[in-house]
């Protein structure tokens, strides 16, 4: 998932998608799940949705985001 491969579109790699999400979260500390996905697709195209969850997982594992189940939103954690 994270390792670059020869036959891959770098624009749709998890690293690239994650970077787009970070840009969004830096501007908006709490973003709804739906909006996050739509924003991502508006920047990188519809195919980015297949990498979306992987990228959110990376940010969660790094302690950069949390998920608010009641608001169905992503919360950016700034340290």
């Amino acid at each position: 998932m994270l390792i670059p491969q020869k036959h891959m579109n770098l624009e749709l790699s998890t690293i690239r998608v994650t970077s787009v999400l970070i840009e969004l979260f830096k501007k908006n500390k709490i973003v709804s799940y739906d909006f996050t996905l739509k924003y991502l697709e508006s920047i990188l195209g519809r195919k980015a949705r297949y990498v979306f969850i992987d990228s959110l997982n990376i940010l969660f594992l790094m302690g950069k985001v949390e998920y608010d189940i009641k608001k169905d939103s992503i919360i950016y954690i700034e340290k």
């Binding site: 020869k6 036959h7 891959m8 195919k47 990498v51």
Partner: protein, 308 residues
């Protein structure tokens, strides 16, 4: 069991090889007939067969080569061939020129079907004995001298590839591709020194220009888009597995090929022999050419300090 690619021999070579086999199993007095109307005979032997049950009499040798992979003696077209031979055999028997009839073919030989064919020939012609020698028999008759004379050496080792992944890849690709060529991709081959790659791999210029550039090249962008799509990650992995397997086989089992394009033929035949159900056969070649152009198979100019 080793299987030789008799399919790559010409009809004349196959007939000559069969007569050479008969020289060793019947005797040196085996006479070959030249091309043309053979009257149902490609060779004859009169006398005592030294390595063939000690039979004595008049032997007629017939060779029937097929160009079809996985052909069997129980196929309807072979039964038709036998039916066409029956009047000739009958006539030779009646003239007193035939006691033992030996038919050699590079088709697989099923036990039950074989006996039915033999009984049919015997019943309709009155010939004393009939032997049908299929692919399995031919393989067992191969010795070093025959292998080298008919250049069958390079095919001695079976490739043992598993094209299951390639089949899934091809099916999925065909289902999802839109056949729309993106002009941005068409000149992608220029991205590295393909001439250098062709040179170090001994790819003939004619094959590269007439086959890869003129036909396959038009669809390389579709494979690119397919493999790069994140939804196809699973197929991208399959592609990697398949190409690395082919690459290994090319360097270990196919070292003796003269031109690189022969690798495509051998791999194509091997894939089809394992997966004859693949309908879009042209896609097998397309993927093989794509692997070559992308330096996934063959020597890469990277070794020569060129980017690939």
């Amino acid at each position: 069991m080793n299987t030789f690619h008799f399919i790559d021999l010409s009809r004349e070579e196959f007939e000559s090889m069969v007569n050479d086999i008969c020289r060793s199993i019947l005797g040196m007095a085996t006479i070959s007939f030249s091309e043309g109307k053979d009257g149902g005979r490609d060779g004859i032997f009169h006398g005592i067969a030294k390595n063939f049950n000690g039979y004595e009499g008049k032997f007629v040798i017939q060779a029937k080569k097929t160009g079809k992979l996985n052909a069997s003696c129980s196929d309807s077209n072979f039964i038709k061939i036998i039916d066409e031979e029956i009047p000739k055999i009958k006539s030779l028997v009646q003239e007193g020129n035939l006691d033992y009839y030996l038919m050699f073919t590079n088709r697989k030989l099923p036990g039950i079907g074989n006996q039915k064919l033999i009984d049919n020939i015997k019943e309709k012609t009155g010939v004393k004995e009939v032997y049908i020698m299929g692919l399995e028999n031919l393989n067992s008759y191969m010795d070093d001298s025959l292998i080298s004379r008919y250049n069958l050496n390079k095919y001695r080792e079976p490739l043992r590839i598993n094209p299951e992944d390639l089949k899934s890849l091809i099916y999925e690709f065909e289902k999802n591709t839109n056949h729309i060529v993106n002009p941005e991709f068409v000149n992608r081959i220029k991205a590295f020194d393909i001439e250098k790659k062709n040179e170090i791999n001994n790819m003939s210029n004619d094959f590269y220009k007439e086959v890869i550039l003129k036909s396959s090249n038009l669809r390389f962008d579709e494979i690119d888009l397919f493999l790069q799509d994140p939804i196809n990650e699973e197929y991208n992995e399959m592609y990697k597995e398949v190409s690395s397997e082919f690459q290994e086989k090319i360097f270990t089992k196919l070292k003796n090929v003269k031109f690189f394009e022969e690798n495509f033929d051998v791999l194509y035949d091997e894939i089809l022999s394992k997966m004859p159900e693949i309908k879009k056969r042209s896609l097998i070649r397309l993927f093989l050419h794509y692997m070559y152009i992308n330096c996934d198979i063959g020597k890469s100019p990277v070794m020569e300090e060129e980017k690939c």
